[in-house]
Amino acid sequence: MKHFRALCILIAVLSVITTQAHTQSLTDTLRLDDILIEATRVPEPRKNQPVQVQLIDSLQISLSGPASLANILENHTGLFIRNYGPSGASTISQRGMLAHQTQIYWKGFNLNHPMLGLFDLNTFPAGMLSGIEINSAGSSVHGSGNMGGSIQLSTDEGFSGAAVSQSAGSYGRYSSSARAGAASDKWELNVQAMLDQSENDFHYGDRTRFPVEDRRRSNNQVETQSLLVNGLKTFSNSEFSSGLWYGHTDRGVPGPMQSLTQQATQEDEFARWYGNYQVQMGGVQTGIKSFLNRQELNFIDPQNGINSISTNMTGLLEVPGRYVISDDIQINGLITTSQSSINSTAYNDVDQSRSHFSAQLNPLIRPINRLRLYPSARIDQYSDFGTAISYALGANYALIPENLHWRFYAGTDFNAPTFNDLFWPESGNPDLKPEEGWKAETGFYSSMHYSGIVQQTDAQVFINRLKNGIQWLALGSNYRPQNIREIQSQGFEIQSNTTLLHDLFRLKVSQLVSGTWATYGKPRFPGDQATGNQLVHTPRWQYRLTFSLFSGPVNSMVAYRRVGERFTDENNISTIDAYSAVDFSISYNLEILGIRSGIRWNINNLLDSSYEVIPFYPIPGRNHLVTLKFNI
């Protein structure tokens, strides 16, 4: 508490002594309200959407520094991040659903790994992020695996000039980035490169010993390289954009504190290319999008004799279409075909592949002025297990136009079995069916403006149901995936953003509270004692509180998060403690001789809390990162 008071005083002093403060406009503050949400397939502002949409803008991301994507999400959203430590995996639990039931997209292209069905947030270089959008739409909008929802990640291409930055911090952390861009009204070209490395050799209390021993994490190093090139060319009624992204990550895999794996390493390498041609012909907008992704995932553990080498190739072609018939009727459609293949030593070097075709319709209908209806339907055809049909109905009603909107969404979901589920030697199950489910949510979004204060509130209740869930169940010696899991999840989320506008500063206070009751459904096997119990590693309660201060050249953020206790067994007997953590950042920007410079100081885990998100995977204590940046 003493630290917290000191921090508040520091922020207040900085805001007063600032002499170069400039007034923030109301338009800036409300900008997010007006962004068209493309990811829901119907481009409408957030307030008009039928589902919850959360946005994290570039300003909030920049205050987080080149931190991890996981860290940004856990500070600014109600997602629960299963964090295995800085060189470990970080996966998502959205609304009680599992990691493979939320899909991650970049430029609309899916990044979840087809072998596992999930995405490790730590493989995305957060320093390249420019925006994050989270929505809860289901399979009729996004296809397979959106039972929890989806996360859209943006990298910033609209940059002109040159910029370099250098960071140094605790535990041998160094991060370097450079970018250059040029643009005219007809074209854009951007190049970004980044190198990030850290030893992550922090001290932790080894509670497997008595008394608890102070030890240093080892084999915890990470090195990430990333290069992204984007180009855009506009024509009279069309535009073409394309980009190439190469990434490479090497890291040690230290294992949990009581079964350390000191020789294990993992290498992730990818090359992604996209092309996007869009054309406007009268009221019709169409085009063609293509995506190629080559991804290697290699895990080597000499101690345990594991040498798992895998290469995934994915190719995708999309034809979107939008026809605006009138102000009240808009037809959106999408046809997609893709091919994925995997060669893996885990599959005894036998190539496994999957072809996929889908077609969907996502119209928008306004039967009356204040009401928007979002019916949607989609059919998916897979080469390995057949057809899945999904549909949904969404609605948005403006109770007070521009200020208060009610929304509703109900739809079906499905999730294709992963390659590992189907093809793992001997134990894979080729007879698996897709996971099935449905979900519904209703809530409201309000945006109220008073003199100098903007209050935005977003609240909803939700219910998710999963059946035929795929679970690798170990009963005796028979360990294989089966369609036996049912999950019932329901809860609520309330988010409040209060922005105080002043001539000298803008102060934004964000709060979020969520409750998630995610339980096991019907018994999966004789004697199953988990029915009705909370899912393991799924907190019921979460709370976030963020203060963001923008005062001329000084920007600052304090982010507090509280995550409730989680059960570590299906009997709901063993728990891991609730935890709280505070992250802090402050930056100062100035311009000298035409060069815009800045310095930023991030302190993560400010209060030096000792906690684990997943048992026996220690999280670093207080750590610092200082960043210098120069923009020309």
Partner: protein, 345 residues
């Protein structure tokens, strides 16, 4: 993603190599300790203590008696040596040495990742053998509690039993996880290999009876549905390793426990089945049709067969106590994956 990608092969290894484990047997008048393996890499191995006289059950018995310290990852097996209980914690690369009366740990033998121990047995001369996920058997000096040497067995070593001056070690897997087929016979006096006995795929459980015989359960190969349907019990002459009898199980084969007063051996194979230890024949009628992860036998109160049943990797298992006619006389919850019964005497 990384974590899950590597946990899968490791977990598979864990499941297929430590499934249906060995148990300590026979008589006594004290407590029953159930070693619960826990979920692989979750660090939630535990001990359940059961008093057959009072039917009292205590969970997390190791942690309770050791200042809350967790036991570790994958409690695989245990052995009473020199009045101490040696608890083998496989994926924590250690052996906890506890007083079986108080369960207070007096020593922790850490192998610092060099060794993933599976079973330990005393072989006399103040030394013990330890099988492990290496291609060798480690020799432990029971005075210094340090490994003094290794015996190269050529594959990952699993079940271990000692009879007279010979130790028998199951060779279950090669390092590439293909099934091995042999049992290594070691002279415990000079630590030299004296015989390599060819059986069938997957020798795992190894037990010694009091009649100078070694019993080996070999799982056989996996069939198309990833199950074992060709397991057998081999009965070996402990003097030279020769095969006395091969008892076909015509199904899977798991844990084994002896009730020598009754000349009965209980085998987990599609339920609990009985082998006549004189005729070396398998009874046609199982004592129980329920499959179990582990078996043990104790007669501290009444002759009783202990059977451990798992409920997956994230849920408490159950222990069932059968009388020798096959009737359930008691049951109680255990920790996750009850894989080994240890009787205090």
């Amino acid at each position: 993603m990384k974590y899950i990608n590597y946990i899968l092969p490791l977990f598979l290894l864990f499941i297929i190599s430590c499934s249906e484990n060995n148990t300590s047997d026979e008589n006594g008048d004290g407590s029953v300790f159930i070693l619960n393996q826990g979920s692989f890499q979750a660090g939630n191995a535990s001990i359940t203590a059961y008093d057959p006289f009072t039917n009292e059950v205590q969970q997390n018995y190791f942690s309770q008696n050791n200042n809350g310290r967790p036991l570790g990852d994958v409690a695989q097996s245990a052995s009473l040596i020199n009045d101490n209980l040696f608890i083998v914690v496989n994926n924590s690369h250690k052996i906890e040495v506890v007083d079986p009366e108080t369960f207070v740990a007096s020593h922790t033998i850490n192998f610092d990742n060099e060794l993933s121990p599976r079973y330990i047995e005393s072989v006399g001369n103040n030394k013990a053998y330890i099988t492990s996920y290496t291609d060798s058997v480690a020799i432990l000096d029971l005075e210094s509690m340090e490994v003094t040497g290794y015996i190269d067995a050529g594959s990952r070593t699993e079940g271990l039993a000692v009879s007279g001056s010979h130790a028998f070690v199951a060779n279950t897997y090669y390092r590439d996880f293909s099934a091995a087929t042999t049992v290594t016979m070691i002279n415990t006096t000079d630590d030299e290999i004296v015989n390599t006995i060819e059986l069938r795929e997957g020798p795992s459980v190894v037990k010694a009876d009091s009649q100078n015989r070694i019993w080996v359960v070999a799982t056989g190969p996996y069939d198309e549905s990833f199950t074992h349907n060709d397991a057998a019990v081999y009965v070996l002459n402990a003097s030279d390793g020769s095969i006395i009898e091969t008892i076909e199980l015509n199904g899977g084969g798991g844990d084994l426990a002896f009730h020598e007063d009754d000349n009965s051996a209980y085998i987990s194979s599609g339920g609990i089945r009985v082998i006549d230890m004189v005729d070396l024949t398998l009874s046609n009628t199982p004592l129980s049709t329920q499959s179990f992860y582990s078996l043990g036998f104790d007669r501290s109160v009444e002759p009783a067969i202990y059977a451990g049943s798992d409920k997956g990797a994230e849920q408490s298992g159950m222990a069932y106590i059968y009388d020798i006619e096959g009737a359930v006389v008691d049951s109680f919850a255990t920790g996750i994956f009850p894989g080994f019964f240890q009787f205090s005497n």
